[in-house]
Subunit: 601 residues, 2 copies
């Protein structure tokens, strides 16, 4: 290979190539013909275009395989020749590259709308991408570049397929609108979080707009990026002139605008529609000797819905995990799940979201059902209704995998624990599907009575996750609470364990709060008070019933008291319509106080 | 001097003498005559009795001055000869002692009922005792033994007078009923706490009952004692036989029963009514070579009412200081105080007690009144109504002294702070009146913004108190809170300061909680949540409005969660009449949930 792409991008700005289609058009080769069929008929031309880009300074070229998937090729009756076309394309790319550049296999979208928005299933997409990627690998691809993706779920499918099949560098770039969201509404930061969690070594944006319009996308991605960012803009926003599509940004201007993108966080640049070897030459000149932007070492824990990131950090409001989608002890839900009806679950989802839950736990564990199938369905249906991260909650790894696959975003898994069996079954799924995971401080011996041993299990889980390549900030520790009714002295051990995790590991913590009051009267009071204590000890993600006003109010007050609700803005907005303070105090004074005093005197 | 009494009692059991009256009766000397007049008329007999006790092994003898105070002597027309009688008595005692024993001046009760129960004022009592003590000091007393006190307030007056006049060892023993309380209801532990705080070097019980009936009193005192305990029982409970009072417990039995008292915690023993040199000889034999009980080094913070101790420790429920007796911002109370009417204050006292306050803060600071006089009156009146420790709250040292003098028990002072002026004015009062004191972490520079500097002020206050002889556990630190509305980031500093005080100093902490929410809406929610956080951080004594159900409930829930409410007994008792759990949960579900879901779908 010419050089190690992932090492190189640490050291200097890496220049990618520009458009293939534009040059083919120049040669009159793509009118009324499948561009990828040229790999069969005009391999020499394809190779020559690659060579021109390499001569212009490109260090990575993208094979002529953008539409070489079964779905797109079918439009030209070529669906049986997927392997051949992809293999050939990479053969020419490799020939052009020699030892001067890296041959990256371009993987473009299928053109289908994926579930949940469309009817094309995630499994079908996975299969299509697997087939194409096998082809490019056979042809000698030195990297995979999944590009021009406008659907997050399709990018996920392509990335998962790539990661199943190869350890080569995998790049994934998406397209964004002027509002820095994808066509389907995914924010750039959410895309970045999902793509890097799924194992992309380089993430970014291509096509979309010109280099002058992509600065916000790059900036938003850079805020959350744990991997380098690639930008391949078009040569400006096209204008129609005399029936011809013209890209208005010339090489020098293109190069100049790309420098702004590098300053905003891009570590690799290239071109998309309308760019030519001249653009790449100018880019090569302009970026010579530039250092790439630093990628932040310390990272924030984040989940995403299909559109929006949710950051879990001590400077932002406490995030509440709604616990109510759970048939345990709920006859109504159990019955509906058994009969395959998700209505109760959807009602709970909407109600909890309206009550302020930030994340919804989804547990559909009812004996006798196909839990995996129901979990997949529940996740899909919930995601159509509410745009929040979901927490896939099951003791069945198959059901967890079903939920993770179905969820378009960065999910949370509930849970792994310190048992070998659990670590072995759950952590690979967390890694594969790019999720965060709750680690329960329980192992083969049960829940340890003291904080120190719970802390040790937490440490073990984080270490084991790290060995699998799961970043430590993606493990959220649940120190577990028993009921104060039967295990009073262990309440303090739970709080102490939380304090230890925060002090010595720094990981976020989750905790199912309501268990504390099981079997005792006035449960809401105990729950809310314990919640405050746990938040004070360092709890980040309370798992509670968001319909409990007491607990939600405690969270809101804690946000004020911990400066998470800056200047108490949310609190004041929420409660300032209340009665004036004076009347509230009055209402607390004993109504019969005069009479009572008389009796006592 | 024969030996240093306070050193000696660390090393071995010290034997005191027995009854004077019994021997005088034998000689036919006390019928129809003032026993103390014998110091004038029969000094040789008095000296001989002392000598007989010393020969029997007594190492401390008590002068014939039990009733030699102005009030008692007046019954015999001898009120003008207080000094002479006391001086003479001590002269004979000293002669008898030589280098073999310590001459302790007996100070008995006046026979008057002190305020608040009676009309004899504390000031009058102080004056009477001062006069007598001046006499015994002139006669060469080597120790003061205040004894046979049945009123805590009278013992307080005698002790304060003694401590004003001498640095000699001061002993104070009271009399108890069979229920281990004084005639006026003071528990042995409460008596012990008050007496040792007022500077008694040895505390204990005398007279009362026989050695077989005093084991509980000694045991209760020993639990809280920071000084050695002296027991001087009667020779059993007297029986009438043929018109004569007979004390049934002979020397051997007496000595044997006294050993049990030593095992229960007594470090010094002697006799009272009915005991003779033979009893003391038996006691001397029986206790030879015995080691005294250890006096606990680590002591618990405690306050008392006039009858009952209130321990402040992490293993017992959180103690609430009721804040409502305070005219600040309360026009009604201010007006009443200005007009000299304590009704509003008394109503607040009773209401707060009924609502569960454990301690009542008393602040009567209204401009233009005689604060000291009103404070004294308020404290006396409140104490008649409610039997709880009071917290004397004033910025005026005179008013603090008035309140402390008037309060019969171990009070709390609110407050001293880190300013030199405050330390100089307040700490001597705390020491003199044996109180606990709240130390505010503020000094000349104001309230420090960060926890570390607040901690340093706390340390300084504790050290300065220690230099004055105030035990560190009697200083309660208030780390102060500003409102979250204007000082949001300092909320965490307050909590951090509390954690630091608990971790590095171990002192109890107090905190006025409600200030946190000033200027913000929904104050009760912020107050209750902050209260939970502060309790979790180590707050022991919240200063709150006990009529706020939210806050009192938070305390009750915290008691469960921190194992202070053992087996949740109090919580269950308090709340188990509530609706069954299921109905409570139901009431949280959204009543319009079906309709809402419809809208969303
Ligand atoms: Zn393009
Ligand atoms: Zn392109
Ligand atoms: Zn007696």
């Amino acid at each position: 290979m010419a050089f190690n792409l992932l090492n190189e991008i640490q050291k200097r700005i890496v220049v990618f190539d520009g458009a293939m289609g534009t040059l083919l058009l120049e040669k009159g080769l793509v009118r009324e013909v499948c561009p990828e069929s040229l790999n069969i008929t005009h391999g020499d031309v394809i190779q020559e275009i690659h060579t021109r880009y390499i001569e212009a300074g490109a260090r990575v070229v993208q094979s002529n395989t953008f539409g070489a998937n079964r779905i797109k090729l079918k439009e030209w009756g070529l669906e049986s020749r997927v392997e051949e076309i992809n293999t050939l394309a990479l053969t020419y790319a490799r020939k052009a590259c020699g030892n001067n550049a890296v041959a990256a296999a371009s993987i473009g979208p299928t053109g289908k709308i994926l579930e949940p928005a469309g009817s094309f299933t995630f499994e079908e997409a996975l299969d299509v991408f697997r087939e194409q990627i096998r082809g490019v690998l056979k042809g000698g691809a030195q990297a995979i570049i999944i590009e021009t993706m406008s659907q997050l779920n399709e990018a996920r499918a392509a990335l998962i397929a790539a990661r199943e099949l190869t350890n080569l560098p995998v790049i994934c770039t998406m397209t964004f609108e002027k509002n820095s969201r994808t066509l389907m509404g995914t924010e750039a930061a959410a895309a970045a979080l999902v793509l890097q969690s799924l194992g992309a070594d380089i993430i970014g944006v291509n096509c979309s707009l010109g280099p002058g319009e992509l600065i916000n996308v790059v900036h938003e991605m850079y805020q959350v990026a744990s991997v380098p960012i690639l930008v391949q803009p078009n040569a400006g926003i096209p204008v129609m002139e005399g029936g011809q599509t013209l890209y208005p940004v010339g090489p020098e201007e293109f190069a100049r605008l790309c420098i702004n993108l590098i300053e905003a966080g891009a570590g690799a640049v290239g071109g998309c529609c309308g760019t030519t070897p001249e653009h790449i030459r100018a880019l090569t000149e302009a970026t010579r000797g530039l250092k790439p932007p630093k990628i932040a070492g310390k990272r924030i824990t984040a989940l995403t819905s299909s559109t929006t990131p949710l950051f879990i950090t001590e400077t932002l409001p406490v995030r509440v995990i709604g616990e109510r989608i759970n048939p345990t002890g709920r006859k109504d839900l159990s019955e509906e799940i058994k009969r395959g009806i998700p209505d109760g679950i959807l009602r709970e989802a909407v109600e909890q979201r309206q009550a302020g839950a930030d994340i919804l736990d989804v547990n559909v564990g009812v004996p006798g059902i196909d839990e995996r199938a129901f979990m997949e369905r529940a996740v899909r249906e919930i995601q159509k209704l509410v745009d929040v991260p979901l927490c896939i909650d099951s003791s069945n790894p198959e059901a967890i995998e079903g939920g993770l696959k179905a969820f378009c975003g960065k999910a949370l898994v509930n849970s792994v624990n310190g048992k070998e069996e659990s670590l072995d079954a759950v952590l690979p799924l967390v890694k594969k599907y790019g999720a965060c995971c709750i680690g329960l401080t329980i192992d083969e011996r049960g829940i340890p009575e003291n904080a120190e041993e719970r802390f040790q299990i937490a440490k073990k889980i984080i270490e084991r996750a790290g060995m699998m390549g799961i970043p430590r900030e993606d493990i959220i520790i649940d120190c577990l609470t028993l009921t104060a009714g039967t295990h009073q002295s262990q309440v303090e051990e739970t709080l102490k364990a939380i304090r230890m995790v925060k002090a010595y590991l720094g990981n976020p913590t989750a905790l199912g709060v309501s268990n504390i009051s099981f079997g005792l009267p006035k449960r809401d009071l105990l729950n809310a008070t314990f919640l405050a204590l746990a938040l004070g000890a360092g709890l980040d993600l309370p798992i509670i019933n968001p319909l409990s006003k007491e607990m939600m109010n405690t969270v809101k007050a804690f946000d004020v008291l911990s400066s998470r609700d800056r200047a108490s803005e949310r609190y004041i907005k929420l409660f300032s319509q209340n009665l004036p303070e004076k009347k509230q105090i009055e209402s607390h004074t004993h109504p019969d106080s005069e009479a009572d005093l008389g009796k006592t005197l």
